[in-house]
């Protein structure tokens, strides 16, 4: 596997490697590349990006209103779109996100998706995106797992990855470093006859370590996870800076991630879901209704998370935190008769964090019939992997794009970073064999290329 490239990766993040024996807590306060946490929020169901960020003038505005006589986000009245410049506006319920954008801490990337791999199946599209290999479903591990693997982390990291939810996200498929949990409070083994709990747990530990099958390995992972959470995350948590998380699971989940970031456990990636975006029916007229409520909860959770981490000095966690909001596809330009929208293609991605260069990125391809994909959907002009690759490179110093997104490295070298996040562009490894052993030759320079500024 790609661990054969470790020395190359360590070279990219020598600052971390040299701290291998240090208490991990200190690392989160450092500014070394790679100290970051990447939070990937997946909006399951396909959010209507044209309601989140809509055209407010030019030719596209007229086409937009024409295609969506009932559900277009209006330009006047109580639900009117909030301008963000360049002829675009944000949904009124996303006001907190607009403020973050205007303050330079949130980026909107237009017309993102899987370029050349249009797929209107939720489940295929999500799987392709999370595996990091559009069009190929047989990839064993998720892209975040491979990012973790090639990150050059030192040994003895308590909690490099969390996957919040009932089941581990496909982006972290195959990782045995991830802790998958729904709630910190429930995540323990403090049940059963009390006089034998300790012995039960230690006997269970011995049983799961007495074997190396896949079941044994993943049971070990689970017991490790209980240990990590019990030792580090037990007890209450009070958000800082007056952060106000919304009620409901999304707020709870962001709150838990903030807690884990502040605990200094070496958290590098977190996967989190927020569903309910498959709005075929009654998504809300004139900027109101269901979609508005959903976006309100999303925005409030993101704002609370930002606020919670936005301290100064040693409490400035947001500088090293990047949140990416993505969805499997956008929705049809034209509304359907149930005042909803069917599956589409291009969509907006959001990137939020203290090291984000706020603004609007990507190229909006237009809404005229000839500009639409399949004459129906917003087209894709930015591959979602370009956004993630830039973060992997600039925020984590990980140039092994060829492993993280197999087959995409040379394309990334061609297109380069969009400039969404601050950081240094490290050499990009381009191949050869994806999981081969070529590194043993010791000569990797011929396939490393520096891109970007």
């Amino acid at each position: 596997m790609s661990t054969s490239r470790r020395s190359f990766m360590v070279g990219c993040s020598a600052a971390i490697a040299s701290l291998g024996g240090a208490r991990f807590k200190s690392l989160t306060f450092g500014a070394a590349p790679g100290d970051d946490t990447l939070v990937v929020l997946f909006l399951r169901g396909g959010i209507d990006g044209l309601s989140l960020v809509c055209p407010t003038n030019h030719n596209d505005r007229g086409l937009y209103e024409q295609a969506r006589p009932d559900i277009a986000i209006p330009l006047s009245g109580g639900n009117s779109a909030l301008g963000i410049g360049q002829g675009f506006g944000m949904h009124r319920s996303a006001a907190p996100l607009r403020n973050l954008l205007l303050d330079g801490n949130l980026a909107v990337v237009h017309a993102c998706g899987m370029m050349n791999n249009a797929n209107r199946s939720h489940f295929d599209a999500q799987e392709f995106m999370e595996l990091g290999t559009p069009g190929t479903r047989t990839t064993f591990s998720g892209w975040l797992s491979r990012h973790l693997e090639t990150l050059g982390l030192p040994n003895n990291v308590p909690l490099p990855a969390v996957a919040i939810g009932s089941l581990q996200q496909t982006s972290l498929r195959g990782s045995i470093e991830a802790v998958n949990m729904n709630s910190i409070n429930d995540f323990n083994l403090n049940r059963g006859p009390s006089q034998w709990r300790t012995q039960h747990r230690s006997a269970l530990r011995n049983l799961v370590e007495n074997g190396s099958s896949e079941i044994h390995t993943t049971c070990q992972q689970a017991l490790d996870a209980v240990d990590v959470v019990e030792l580090n995350a037990a007890g209450g948590y009070s958000p800082a800076n007056g952060a106000n998380y919304p009620g409901g699971s999304l707020g709870d989940h962001f709150r838990a991630i903030a807690q884990m970031i502040k605990l200094g456990l070496g958290l590098r990636v977190a996967a989190i879901d927020f569903g309910g975006w498959d709005t075929h029916n009654g998504q809300g007229d004139n900027g109101g209704g269901y979609f508005s409520q959903r976006v309100g909860e999303l925005s409030q959770a993101l704002e609370a998370f930002y606020t919670d981490l936005d301290g100064s000095g040693a409490n400035d966690f947001i500088q090293n935190t990047t949140v990416v909001v993505q969805s499997e596809f956008g929705r049809r330009l034209r509304q359907n008769a149930n005042r909803g929208t069917d599956h589409g293609y291009g969509n907006s991605m959001l990137v939020m964090g203290g090291s984000v260069n706020g603004g609007i990125y990507g190229q909006f391809p237009g809404l005229a019939t000839g500009q639409l994909f399949d004459q129906a959907d917003l087209d894709v002009t930015t591959d979602y992997r370009q956004v993630f690759s830039e973060i992997v490179v600039r925020r984590f110093g990980n140039g092994d794009i060829d492993t993280v997104f197999p087959g995409y490295a040379s394309e990334y070298v061609n297109v380069g970073p969009l400039g969404i996040v601050q950081g240094t562009d490290v050499p990009i490894s381009l191949g050869p064999p994806m999981f081969g052993d070529s590194f043993e030759s010791g000569d990797d320079t011929e396939w490393d290329v520096v891109v970007g500024s």
């Binding site: 209107r120 009390s194 012995q199």
Partner: protein
């Protein structure tokens, strides 16, 4: 405070006789393994790391035992929910050797109507359920039209949930229940939706009645079911406002599958098979199916309609013009027949046979089943497309294959399987009657394991790959559930996990207790090191073959309960 929430100390019985009291040596002995193993962070104060030296980042696929266990163990664990105490004797009576018994067991299980199911029938008869035998219109009228409040509206699905546990644990129709689970997930609906809670028993009845029969019949009944029509919005899909949600999932998930999807493309560019049928579908087929299904709605009391929840075809809402679907013309003005044609063409498509066969093989054999058995099953499925035994015969091909009989531990138990198989093995006294006193506590704990019944929100259904079920939420929360169960008391203070009373007299030493319960729960021997570990746990400092005061000492009894939970929590118990 309910008894179940009392601290254990409050219910401790008299102290141990002095000769059996654990002295300091005994306690040290009891803690030995944890100290020596330097692993228990509570004992040692060590720091824990998810990433540490020498541990890989990602696991590699490494399955367990090379040699599968006996056919009995394979059959009862993969065609159902594990061994219920006493089952092996019935198995042995099925034939003179293992092969004969296996064949007889498969043949018996695919005809559930011939199976005498006394124990389940008795339990369900005494459960106080009032909604499970109602037909669709009775459910609709009693719990929707005349219903008042969520409690009455949702009673049908809550009874279904209890019945699902009761059947999986006590019914002899184990394969039928496995198939109900399979089809419920294949045709997944969010059961707790406002438009499903009141009719849910009918959804399950439709599936249970048809689970071995003809696929097209089942498909048609589900496609026309009020729950599905609401869940995927087709109830409101009209010629002036088509909604493609249902049509898309009908093709992508219910019939041909994404494996036969060519994406956005020209339907004329799709290659054709020997019968001149396109070998795959494209988005345009989804749109044409959407048009064909316009007007397929529900008798929901809208103007001119009855209000009984049955299927209603509204010709005024139907797109009357010609359509082209999967290479065939649907002539203009065909009315409801358009949708019927779509279902027929889909059910008969060879791609549907391959997709359904693959899913069945994935359920019963392995996540990545050999193509040979998928092809064989698909051929049977396609050949019997008009037979009332289509699914039954397809299943027989799969279950009697060498691939089935020689495969073990490619699948793991999901949380429902773990709990049900633990309750089958122990016959522990958990209760599923309506308003059983602590059943809500059970579900509060169970639902955190990741497989709360009827709650999967998206139409793809529950994942059926082990990778999805071996992450830490389902594992830790299922362990925790078993621990909770091992200590739960009913309203009168008795332990529901009544394994002490179920330990036969004469089984007294740590070794005897472990051997008895390992055999009863796992039905196969443990690795000697694992057995030693369990014996060490059970003896807690006493000799392995010294009699323990089982039944007369509350600490010892608690240890037996904890031991049986440990067997249910050990990695081997997850194998199937």
């Amino acid at each position: 405070m309910k008894p179940s929430q009392m601290p254990n100390e409050g219910l401790r019985s008299a102290p141990l006789p002095s000769e059996l009291r654990r002295g300091s040596v005994g306690r040290r002995e009891a803690l030995r393994s944890s100290l020596e193993s330097r692993r228990d962070v509570v004992e040692t104060g060590r720091t824990a790391y998810m990433r540490r030296a020498g541990k890989p980042s990602t696991f590699t696929r490494r399955l367990g035992a090379a040699a599968p266990p006996d056919l009995y163990t394979i059959a009862i664990n993969r065609m159902g929910y594990g061994e219920i105490n006493g089952q092996r004797a019935e198995w042995i009576a099925l034939g003179g050797n293992e092969t004969q018994r296996f064949e007889a067991y498969v043949d018996e299980q695919v005809y559930p109507n011939s199976i005498v199911d006394t124990e389940y029938e008795q339990k369900v008869g005494a459960a106080g359920f009032t909604t499970l035998n109602k037909n669709l219109s009775q459910l609709w009228i009693d719990h929707h039209v005349n219903g008042s409040g969520w409690s009455q509206r949702s009673r049908p699905i809550r009874e279904s949930e209890l019945d699902q546990f009761m059947r999986a644990i006590y019914s002899k129709k184990q394969l039928q229940e496995a198939m109900v689970e399979f089809w419920l997930s294949h045709f997944n609906m969010y059961g707790w939706d406002y438009w499903s809670v009141h009719v849910w028993p009918d959804v399950i009845n439709v599936i249970r009645t048809n689970c071995f029969n003809n696929f097209h019949t089942l498909l048609r009944k589900i496609t026309q079911h009020t729950s599905m029509l609401y869940y995927l919005d087709n109830y409101a899909s009209t010629r002036s406002g088509p909604n493609e949600n249902h049509a898309r999932e009908l093709v992508e998930l219910h019939t041909m599958g994404a494996e036969n999807y060519y994406g956005v493309g020209d339907p004329l560019s799709v290659p054709r098979d020997a019968n001149n049928i396109p070998i795959a579908y494209v988005d345009n087929d989804v749109y044409e199916a959407t048009r064909a299904l316009t007007g397929w709605s529900v008798n929901n009391g809208w103007s001119g309609r009855l209000n009984n929840g049955s299927f209603y075809y509204d010709d005024a809402d139907h797109d009357r013009f010609q359509k082209n679907f999967l290479g065939r013309v649907l002539p203009p003005d065909s009315g409801q027949q358009d949708g019927e044609d779509v279902l027929r063409y889909l059910a008969d498509h060879p791609g549907t046979g391959r997709y359904i066969a693959r899913k069945l093989c994935q359920r019963f054999i392995s996540d990545d089943p050999p193509q040979s058995i998928v092809d064989e099953a698909a051929a049977k499925f396609n050949q019997l497309n008009t037979s009332a035994s289509q699914i039954r015969e397809t299943l027989r091909v799969i279950l009697k294959s060498d691939e089935f009989k020689n495969t073990w531990n490619e699948k793991i138990k999901r949380p429902f399987d773990v709990v049900v198989s633990a309750l089958r093995a122990t016959r522990a006294n958990f209760r599923w009657e309506w308003n059983a006193d602590d059943v809500d506590d059970f579900f509060w704990n169970y639902d955190r394991c990741g497989q709360a019944l009827f709650t999967w929100p998206t139409p793809d259904g529950l994942p059926d790959e082990r990778g999805k079920w071996q992450s830490t939420t389902p594992r830790v929360m299922t362990w925790r559930l078993m621990l909770w169960m091992s200590d739960e008391r009913n309203g009168s203070g008795s332990h529901r996990w009544d394994v002490v009373a179920k330990t036969p007299s004469g089984v007294n030493t740590a070794e005897e207790i472990v051997d008895y319960w390992v055999d009863r729960v796992l039905g196969r021997a443990l690795d000697p090191a694992d057995r030693d570990e369990m014996v060490d746990f059970m003896r807690a400092g006493f000799g392995s073959s010294s009699p323990l005061p089982i039944g007369s000492d509350s600490d010892t009894d608690a240890r037996v309960r904890s031991l049986v939970a440990l067997i249910c929590n050990c990695p081997n118990f997850l194998e199937r």
